[in-house]
Symmetry: C2
Subunit: 222 residues, 2 copies
């Protein structure tokens, strides 16, 4: 399962651009400055433009005829739709993870869980979200399904920016933490059916999604 380092030039460029979008260096709606990025990366326009085509097919940028690439905005609908799909994928992950997860993987998920609880108690949302993210990724990885892992990571990266920027409501946060208790319990019992069910609805709180989207709008992240 070690990822094959493709190490193509355009691939490297794509990674760096994705990171810049994630970090907010490149903002949604803005034009991608080809020349500037070429200089910054020390490459010609050829590999940069190849990277842009790939990023366009992944949804990170949009290509406008004769006016280059723009960083995609994330609409409320697309956010909603993406989270719905991620929920379904996490549901499947839960079922598969229960069948495949090793003791050591389980132990590290548990460790992350307790870390996350500590952050919750201290109301440290940034660290909470990070630990939370890692738990979900660990479960997806434990599915041992490479296609699933790949698709999930791609979708996750598309919405990460918004998810990390917004603040959770008190109620939603409490509910999410309770869900996580149930997640760990089901995982320990290798109860795939239950874990699948929990994960399928864990992300999909529509009210919270709208709220997230509004926050993002306000911060013009989308």
């Amino acid at each position: 399962m070690d990822k094959i380092k493709q190490n193509t030039l355009h691939g490297e460029v794509a990674v760096r651009i994705r990171d810049m979008i994630d970090a907010g260096t490149l903002t949604p709606g803005s034009r991608v400055p080809e020349k500037q990025l070429c200089e910054q990366f020390g490459v010609s326009r050829t590999p940069l433009r190849e990277a842009l085509k790939v990023l366009a097919s992944e949804g990170f940028v949009e290509l406008l005829p004769n006016r280059g690439a723009r960083i995609s905005k994330l609409t409320i609908d697309t956010l909603q739709h993406t989270l719905e799909v991620m929920s379904a994928l996490e549901g499947l992950s839960g079922e598969l993870a229960c069948a495949h997860i090793s003791e050591s993987e389980l132990a590290s998920v548990e460790a992350l869980h307790y870390q996350m609880l500590a952050y919750y108690k201290n109301a440290n949302m940034a660290e909470y979200l990070l630990a939370n993210q890692k738990i979900h990724e660990a479960i997806v990885v434990a599915s041992r399904n490479d296609v699933l892992i790949d698709v999930y990571k791609n979708l996750n990266q598309r919405v990460r920016r918004v998810r990390f920027s917004a603040e959770l409501s008190k109620e939603y946060w409490a509910k999410a933490v309770q869900d996580h208790e149930d997640i760990i319990t089901a995982l320990r019992r290798r109860d795939g059916v239950t874990l699948g069910q929990i994960l399928r609805r864990h992300l999909s709180d529509k009210v919270e999604v709208s709220y997230l989207a509004e926050m993002a709008e306000a911060k013009s992240l989308s």
Copy 2:
């Protein structure tokens, strides 16, 4: 939901290469003849290579350092994994479709269903598979979730070649047809929970998947 015709040159080239893979003109494991395709399409290497990078990120080709692109082989594991993910996505589609499908959409799914049954009775597998495919796509489209539609179609295209090449066993075929009766019933009742359940396990017959993969191997399609 009309697809935005991006109509970029590299996009057109990508479509044509995907179709050639689908049609068997380009065979798994073989090298992609850049020069020849350029002449055939009447474009320079620049847009062709851009298309190849996109196809690589979608999994249709693999890029080997200093030796260009090869058409990807579909391993048994990848086929299995892809069908698992598609099942999960169809499950979600079922739930959403029940909430969103219009009467006219339902009518056209029903029409396809009866067509498909006729092909089954005549043991016309090729036409059966085509109608079957259309039904599943119609349900996915009825979900009204653009991200879902997009991811599903992408995965479907990756495995279509193999799925259409192999023959179904008598038992599996009968079971699939029975599933389809239940699918239509649930859809008519707008019973999303049931439809979701059926669709989540409809594709995932592991024995059949192995069989499919073997057939594909024998025909060296994968």
